[in-house]
């Protein structure tokens, strides 16, 4: 499985994703610039955290007009895995690949902490190595992570099992229904505010994020073989 990590102007967790896949998971991964127009040859795409375009206007609002976006949309529509963390999640919502939006945190501040999450849906291609209802802890680091969608959308997300992660003990940012990560209806596009790529090595404090990448690689292999 060959994975693209997109580099937008202002991306700064690009190396985090890359190294989690390359150094820790020994996966086949490449950086792809926002200037490119094609993702031919890639089986999955990941949008990193950071501050694309300085988060000016709204987080993710400008990045979605970059050259690479149509190729990402195409991957999503083709059912290939698309993953966005933090700013990547914000870009995916701004681009309409995921429902809802991410607002400024309720306390109006940037928050960098490791917090407990619940794995709500372990049936996605990204989460099969977690147990259902498992409690894990992942770092968050954002100022605009308060998930918002209207009631109808929220109900639909829950009914379709699209809520993948929830904040478990406390809600750090005011996200509605404690939502920390969601997929699209088809389940191949995952966006989440927490940073699994920051929790893949014991020396950095946690390995709770590792199984997300392992799940994807394992499921990707099965798929490629099939």
């Amino acid at each position: 499985m060959k994975i693209a990590v997109i580099v937008f102007p202002g991306s700064n967790c690009d190396i985090d994703l890359y190294e989690a896949l390359h150094a820790v998971c020994h996966a086949d991964v490449e950086y792809v610039s926002h200037r490119e127009t094609s993702l031919t040859g890639f089986d999955a795409v990941m949008l990193p955290g950071g501050f694309s375009y300085g988060d000016y206007l709204r987080a993710g609002a400008i990045a979605r007009f970059t050259n690479i976006m149509p190729a990402i949309v195409k991957m999503a529509n083709a059912g290939k895995p698309v993953f966005g963390t933090c700013n990547g999640f914000q870009i995916l919502t701004e681009a309409g690949l995921l429902p809802g939006a991410l607002k400024r945190n309720d306390n109006q501040r940037f928050i960098c902490r490791t917090i407990p999450l619940e794995v709500v849906n372990n049936q996605t291609i990204f989460t099969t190595q977690y147990c259902s209802r498992e409690r894990i802890a992942l770092p968050i680091a954002h100022a605009d992570g308060s998930y918002y969608a209207d009631e109808e959308t929220l109900d639909r997300l829950e009914a379709n099992n699209q809520v993948v992660f929830r904040y478990a003990a406390e809600n750090p940012n005011g996200s509605l229904r404690n939502i920390a990560g969601i997929t699209n209806e088809r389940g191949n596009v995952l966006g989440m505010m927490p940073h699994p790529e920051r929790a893949v090595e014991a020396i950095l404090g946690s390995v709770d994020g590792l199984r997300l990448f392992k799940s994807l690689l394992e499921n990707g292999k099965v798929r490629t073989e099939a």
Binding site: N12, C13, G54, Y56, F110, C112, R198, I203
Partner: protein, 586 residues
């Protein structure tokens, strides 16, 4: 554009006094250095370049006390930042910088641009910044305005560093009424590089290009450099308007573009320097001086954000996120292409010339023609008077104070409630301390620890200082700042390598304050020799006063240590319920 005053009018009306150039200096420049009257632009350039901020004319004599070499130092003070060998062809680069005055006036932007400035010092050396630290000193929190300033300062540091994607991994925050009208905001940046990539701020090679890259020039921070060298009164707090605004997004692009150029195309580049205090003039004159070259610049080519800027304004603007490069003749277009990729401007604004003259053209006219050295090297060093303060004479006569503790529990509780001692998590949680996934120990421990990817090595780093100790006994206080930093580094499992510093004091024209400066630097220097931690970079911030009241003398030490085996790092938290607790030392 016409000069605002004729040379004769300048001589008569002495506008330079407002820019903190003294009459004696003006006369010296006129009679000894030039043998003619300097024009308006030239006078302004002298005022900026001869300010304490750029010239260290008052503190130089004291700074000579510091050791700055040892077997590991590759670059000591004098460049953008110091460089230390950490084996395997790698080097660590670090420096601290104060942004006290801008932060006092406009905490959010002042703190943000403080981070921006220190980062440019690091990447202009060819290093990638890998961590930031801060040292913040505020007034008492009982003042609601101070609470807002604390919030804004922390937000400024966070917003800039977070957006740049550089983890803030350690720091210190204290509160004391002596900082009520003059906050201290010191920032330190640590970078990592391959030794082969080390850059210098020099311009040389006749015909080579002087290129301007990054953000456009506006009227921000004009007089910033001279402003930082005069003390505050409530009155000029309201006059100030040319606030520098940080653009971390631009800086991120600038960082990536500069590192691309430096690491991939070293042959194109002769020298590089960031535009800090006193913007274009200080960077260009210092580069020419360093390369022993002449330089000619055409200011009409400088990218400008506002119309009708004078030569003086263009030269002194402190607009952020700009760099000056000296590029080999013939490679200008190649360099431009690199910056184009990041959507950044790169413009040739001048050339290296034969001889040693610094010449500026604006609107087709020559507006400045000076020997380079007159701006950078001929500064009149100032002798300062010193006097031991009476309070210290008094204190020395008294017998040592013995604390009487009646209820140890309530004393402990009282101590823990002191804002200076209390937990700072609610503040440092606003800093991304983990981005780029190398942070082994973040804020909340003795020192921050960053691993070096691809090796077993790590770097420990800390900022420490204690204005109260230094106030009570400058020499011992200076030693203690070093000891505290070294203890933090050692407790993290690292070998201390070297230090950077910010020397924050009041008005050095006050003999008692100069004495404090001298004594405390002596104490620091002695301790540096003891620990074999030379001073490889640093910064001096004088005139930290409000309405005639000086801050406590507050030298800040930023220390970096090398960890040979990162797996052995010991955190400062209790690990297991039945572990034993030992007290070691005296």
């Amino acid at each position: 554009m016409k000069q605002a005053m004729t040379p004769e009018e300048i001589k008569e009306q002495k506008p330079y006094l407002d820019w903190s150039l003294s009459e004696a200096e003006y006369d010296y420049i006129r009679t000894q250095l030039l043998g003619r009257l300097p024009n308006y632009t030239e006078t302004g350039l002298f005022a900026a370049m001869w300010s304490e901020h750029c010239s260290y004319k008052k503190s130089k004599s004291v700074l000579r006390l510091f050791p700055n070499k040892n077997e590991r130092v590759l670059q000591g003070p004098g460049e953008g930042a110091g460089v230390v060998d950490i084996d395997d062809g790698q080097a660590v680069v670090f420096k601290a910088e104060s942004h006290n005055h801008p932060t006092t006036v406009e905490p959010y932007q002042g703190a943000a641009t403080g981070i921006g400035g220190i980062l440019r010092d690091i990447f202009s050396m060819g290093a990638r910044p890998i961590a930031s630290l801060d040292s913040l000193h505020f007034g008492e929190l009982t003042d609601p305005l101070m609470r807002m300033k604390v919030e804004a300062t922390v937000r400024g540091i966070g917003d800039y560093g977070n957006c740049m994607g550089i983890p803030t991994v350690a720091g210190e925050i204290t509160f004391d009424s002596c900082y009520q009208g003059n906050l201290l905001c010191n920032a330190m940046s640590v970078g990592l590089m391959d030794q082969k990539d080390i850059q210098q701020g020099r311009a040389a090679g006749i015909g080579n290009a002087v290129m301007y890259v990054g953000a456009k020039t506006g009227r921000d921070g004009i007089h910033g450099a001279t402003f930082a060298s005069t003390d505050f009164s409530d009155e000029n707090e309201t006059q100030r308007s040319a606030v520098q605004v940080g653009d971390p997004f631009m800086e991120k692009l600038l960082l990536e573009a500069c590192l691309d150029l430096i690491t991939k195309h070293p042959a194109w580049l002769v020298g590089i320097q960031d535009m800090g205090a006193a913007g274009i003039v200080s960077s260009s004159a210092e580069m020419a001086s360093e390369g022993k070259s002449g330089m000619e610049l055409n200011l009409d080519l400088v990218p400008q954000r506002e119309p009708h800027m004078s030569a003086y304004e263009i030269m002194l603007s402190e607009s952020q996120e700009r760099m000056l490069l000296c590029v080999k003749k013939g490679n200008e277009e190649d360099v431009k292409k690199i910056f184009d990729l990041y959507g950044l401007e790169a413009v040739t604004i001048g050339r290296i010339t034969a001889g040693h003259d610094y010449v500026l053209f604006h609107d087709g006219e020559e507006v400045c023609h000076l020997p380079v050295a007159s701006l950078t090297d001929d500064v009149l060093e100032e002798e300062s008077m010193e006097r031991k303060p009476a309070r210290i004479e008094e204190a020395e006569k008294q017998s040592a104070w013995e604390p009487h503790i009646t209820n140890i529990e309530s004393t402990l509780a009282d101590l823990l409630q002191q804002p200076t001692i209390a937990d700072k998590a609610s503040l440092y949680w606003q800093y991304d301390s983990q981005v780029r996934t190398n942070t082994v120990v973040g804020p909340g421990s003795d020192a921050g620890v960053i691993r070096i990817r691809g090796t077993k090595k790590g770097l420990a780093m800390t900022t420490d200082g204690n204005g109260r100790f230094v106030y009570l006994n400058p020499e011992v206080g200076g030693q203690m700042a070093l000891v505290e930093a070294a203890a933090n580094i050692i407790a993290s499992g690292a070998q201390p390598l070297a230090i950077t510093d910010c020397l924050n004091y009041g008005d050095p024209n006050d003999p008692e304050i100069f004495w404090e400066l001298h004594q405390s630097v002596q104490g620091m220097a002695d301790a540096c020799r003891e620990f074999n931690t030379p001073v490889i970079s640093g910064n001096v911030s004088l005139y930290n006063e409000n309405n005639g009241r000086a801050i406590h003398p507050t030298p800040m030490v930023g220390m970096v240590g090398l960890i040979k085996n990162i797996d052995r790092v010991i955190p400062s938290f209790v690990q297991h319920p039945s572990d034993k607790v030992y007290l070691v030392g005296k």
